[in-house]
Symmetry: C2
Subunit: 427 residues, 2 copies
């Protein structure tokens, strides 16, 4: 079996005006849909965050991927790494090139697993070692947000929307707004765990939001907050102490492995990270410093499904727990996350997903159903999702029309708050 | 697809009187041949070191393996671990139970990969991520030994033997004998790397043996010695300094991670281990102490093929290199080692193998050919080896006849040296 064609199609999906430490989500979130077509009529799908660099990278790796047997996963990874990060003028450029290579490869890796699963008549979860759970639990991913549903509606409301799609248009700019958002999301999807994207308002407001969620949902609902490393060590200790007994875990309150390690000694809440330890090169520092208790895997960032399985083994070996990170995504990445979570030996927490915030899909049958906060691990061969080519064309047209080629939450934020600037440590 | 039957057949293969730190190899080496039979007519093969405990363990796990789908590798591993090491009266018993579970599981894991490969029409190397090399290089595994060929001949010579089988009968009890053994082995198999099993004679003799090998083969032949941790730190430093520039690496000269770490700071030879860091539980200590440069993987010890791939990732992450350890074995384990080595991303050295010392086989077609010191990675589905049931019956009869149920090199040694006792640190 040989790969005959590599297609990388940029798409833009409507994304509501969600606030975060970097600013504000633009009306469209960018993704790249990867297709690998083989000479046996089997094709594999992948999906990664969209950017002009990633799009160019797929062009740059086409000739080292096409012509290969899809089972040669390691050789394909090495060829991609060599092509994209084999040389660089300086360490900073090398770091950036390696990060890009991991992301670009992750889309290929998922497509290879999709092909191998289809070729074997097996779901991807079985290619990864088999299912250790039949259902994957997700957390409600809560955001402070402006009113509006994004996409063509921007900060306006889509008057035709109903149910959660109507509810998601509401502004949520204070504790009461966040509680209402959480209630709507829990009502619709049955989530049994809540995560707040913080780093938006001053820590007092965000801490009060967590306390309001605790009051509204009671002590049995696990709560997490992720200030995206915008808090100083001192601030993290101060509010962390207040949130002891409230939080299930505290995600990236402050920046850097050494700072996180210092915080870890000062408060009694498990620390999680998707920012201080984000790749295999950073793991030795994490172990040396003792930076965190929980690593948030993300197959897009760590370099694919196999790399995420490898990360799980490292976590098990060194006493770290595993949870799962997410960015805005559609159904191909969601399916990949579900298969991966189905196979991960020790996934200790409900996984993150932005999925409820995206209203559009590229897969046949529309959005994957989340029920009781969980999704069943598919039993169909491969990822178990097929590409809806009409939807792909429509979302690609969105991409061309919206004119966004790279995510820049700072520029988007400036539309609401003129002069707004990102700060690495704000409070 | 379901596993219908688990068979574990103990066999005994002739083994020459090889000397090592634990004493002397008995005339027969014990192995257990594992067969998993599925309801689709596909069967999978595995092989592990033989012992009465392992044999009993296969009986103990039969009901948690039979009935399962062979793709459910992780769940099967967990069920075996739970059954064999789920509880233990004290930490020492737990450690022993976990070590046994890893070994027993490794035979099952190899058989599962064999089945999955056959089911997919793919060699096992492809199920592990694909081949990164077409040929696997091995090192000549040199032993001090008494005259004789083992098996029914014991310390006698098999007068009908020819070629290497004749040569292997020679005694090798001093540097000149070892050089002659190495020359015969290199002539027959084309090995381009030499490893001496040390820990037998006093360090002066073993060091002189390495210097004699250097003289005989010149500086382009990589050399290693493995005193099996019988040397003190002081002795290891003294002879290590003498062997700087001579050894490719120094395998387990002394005992324990802290001692190895101290040695590592004192001499300029990379340290390798199969004794101070032997499982995932011991990796954090290895990293903390900086015990070694090279970890010798062994899929029987580390818990199977997947675990060995995982170990490779840990090594890559933490700056360890990887080589491969061996015990006396036949063709099923050899095939498994070759597929694994074919898939390992970074295998930095020629792998160990005892294979030339075993004259008997359980696989159809007889012994796998080593040419130019290497073996081609098979392209047939699964392991690419089939069980020769006549040979299996014959070697099982050997097992029943020889009366050896557990390896005990100390007792065997006492036949030659009355009163001989193992010492953990001898020199």
């Amino acid at each position: 079996m040989k790969i005959q064609e590599l297609r990388a199609t940029p798409i833009a999906v409507s994304d509501p005006p969600l606030l975060n430490a970097a600013g504000l989500h633009a009306p469209y979130a960018l993704r790249i849909i990867v297709e690998l077509v083989t000479d046996r009529g089997i094709y594999g799908l992948g999906e990664i965050p969209g950017s002009s660099a990633a799009l160019a990278a797929y062009d740059a790796i086409r000739d080292v991927v096409v012509g290969r047997d899809p089972y040669q996963r390691t050789a394909i990874r090495r060829a991609i790494e060599e092509r994209l990060a084999g040389s660089a003028p300086d360490p900073k450029a090398l770091y950036a090139a390696r990060q890009l290579a991991l992301r670009v490869h992750s889309g290929i890796d998922v497509a290879l697993f999709d092909i191998i699963g289809k070729d074997s008549g097996r779901p991807v979860v079985d290619i990864l070692g088999g299912r250790v759970r039949d259902r994957v639990d997700f957390a409600a991913y809560l955001f402070y947000k402006y009113e509006g549903s994004g996409g063509e509606f921007g900060f306006e409301r889509d008057q035709a929307a109903a149910g959660w799609e109507k509810d998601l248009q509401a502004a949520a700019l204070d504790p009461a707004g966040l509680v209402a958002q959480a209630q709507a999301m829990v009502k619709r999807f049955g989530f049994a765990s809540l995560k707040l994207k913080g780093g938006v308002f001053e820590p007092r407001v965000e801490t009060d939001t967590m306390l309001a969620l605790r009051d509204a949902f009671g002590p049995s609902m696990p709560l997490r907050i992720d200030p995206n490393a915008l808090w100083s060590l001192e601030t993290s200790i101060k509010y962390g102490k207040e949130l002891e007994g409230v939080l299930q875990y505290f995600e990236d309150p402050c920046r850097g492995q050494e700072t996180m390690a210092a915080l870890r000694k000062a408060i009694k809440i498990p620390l999680a990270t998707n920012m201080c330890t984000t790749n295999f090169d950073e793991l030795p520092g994490s172990i040396r410093h003792g930076s965190e208790d929980i690593i948030l895997s993300d197959h897009h960032i760590w370099g694919g499904l196999q790399a995420s399985m490898d990360l799980s083994r490292v976590c098990r070996t060194f006493g770290r727990k595993l949870s799962m990170h997410s960015n805005s995504h559609v159904g191909i990445s969601f399916a990949a996350m579900i298969h991966l979570a189905g196979a991960l030996d020790e996934l200790a927490y409900e996984a993150d997903t932005h999925y409820p915030w995206q209203r559009e899909e590229v897969i046949v049958g529309g959005k994957i159903k989340i029920e009781d906060g969980a999704v069943e691990v598919p039993r169909e061969p491969g990822l178990g999702v097929e590409l809806d080519r009409e939807a792909l064309a429509r979302l690609h047209a969105n991409y061309l029309r919206c004119g966004i080629e790279d995510r820049d939450d700072e520029i988007e934020m400036q539309k609401k708050v003129p002069g707004w600037k990102f700060q690495a440590t704000r409070w």
